[in-house]
Symmetry: C2
Subunit: 293 residues, 2 copies
Amino acid sequence: MTTKDTVIDLYPSRVEAQPRILERKDPVVYPNDFEGPLTKEDLSAYDADGYLFAEAFFTEEETAALQNELRRLLAESRGVRKPEIILEPEGDEVRSIFAVHRDNGLFRALSEHPKLVSAVRQILGSDVYVHQSRINFKPGFKGKEFQWHSDFETWHTEDGMPRMRALSCSIALSDNYPFNGPLMVIPGSHRHFVACVGETPENNYESSLRRQVFGVPDEGSLTWLVERSRIEQPAGRAGSIVFFDCNIMHGSNSNITPYPRSNAFFVYNSVENKLQAPFASQRPRPDYIATRE
Amino acid sequence: MTTKDTVIDLYPSRVEAQPRILERKDPVVYPNDFEGPLTKEDLSAYDADGYLFAEAFFTEEETAALQNELRRLLAESRGVRKPEIILEPEGDEVRSIFAVHRDNGLFRALSEHPKLVSAVRQILGSDVYVHQSRINFKPGFKGKEFQWHSDFETWHTEDGMPRMRALSCSIALSDNYPFNGPLMVIPGSHRHFVACVGETPENNYESSLRRQVFGVPDEGSLTWLVERSRIEQPAGRAGSIVFFDCNIMHGSNSNITPYPRSNAFFVYNSVENKLQAPFASQRPRPDYIATRE
């Protein structure tokens, strides 16, 4: 671990003029004895692919309650302007609502769900906390792309997350199909860090959450990753979950179908991996995007 | 059949202020005794669904020759400005090349391929001619959506095609995946005609081939069609083919993957269904978009 006194940047990005692919310097599954719902096979699949998909991780009752709350929250948020509510790049449709683990009772309870948290601990090998939470809506007809990216690249450069010891859970709250813009991942890409070019502009997050421009990997690196692997769409029904490593390359296509795509999104970070000063940005992002407590 | 003297518009569109869904007034498979590669089961599936998918319709040698010619044609077309070459909405990537059955030897031969033409005759029940041809390139990383549409809506309003007695063949010249923006269809939608709102602006085709704005069905009608059916992605490997009815509702999502998606596209019209004056447009579109001979 680096400390505040001796900060070594193991994953420099947005500092050079040319993109570069670096090897990962951290474990994927951290050795531990935590008990939880994941089997040995689950953990080795996660280690190899960088993600794990589980159908019906939550019960039908739990899922229905979350869907109701999601609908209520979406209706309540229409027309409201506050930083936590992000709109689609074109138009006024709500794209994401951040900090739901802080602001909403039911989603806070979900972020503390014992089955969920113990699975996360099995992977990260320590106690964990919520680094970021949000609900994503990909509306029918006009949901836009999320360009390919590694979350860690942003959390490292803009939030000061030192090591790769964090993961995301995407909990499906509507049925995913191959054609309504589901999550796409490049299995194995979590073992490579694509250093991106360009400097981070001040307050980049204000526009990057609508459409990302900085911290976007170059087409050459993406092709390199896909050529060595493949693309998968771990798309499931409402109530399913995808756990994915903080550094796996992922993105999603647009959605012109009438089927909206909604999910709840929690990022857990290890308590051993506390945030420091951002590695390539003037100021850390606000707390509703990256918990710094 | 209507004639030049007594033109009755069975499928009015772009004339009313409200969208409307009309029933189809024409057969899908026209009764006939033509011999060809399609079985009775193929023909009833086409009748019910409005499309038919066949893997490996062309041999590997034929497919390889077409792929080579496609690459040559794409390279040759870069930077060339002529009406037949359509660019992506944003940027200078080639999106389509029209009239390849007229301008290119190999694609002309493909449009006259006996297996292909006899299959088309089995469906349309008459001799046929090429109404339109093109090659589509959906480049990797930045291929944009094709919004949902019925081809017939445009051919009727802008080209003066009187009846639904035409079909398209999409011949895959690269491997299609669920995630690189393949064709999506709504099975059964070919039995309904969605009359669109708004008037056609003059020379609409000059922009509509890049991004369609007029003749776009409304979200209510699309939801109505999908609720009564489903969405399918008849995506196959290079050398596969999709035959689809002129009035089936179809579209495609964007493509952020590195895999480009290319196909050859032929529209065949029955010789009994000759073009007339456009039903909702000032002037017919030029010959490279709609053969009028």
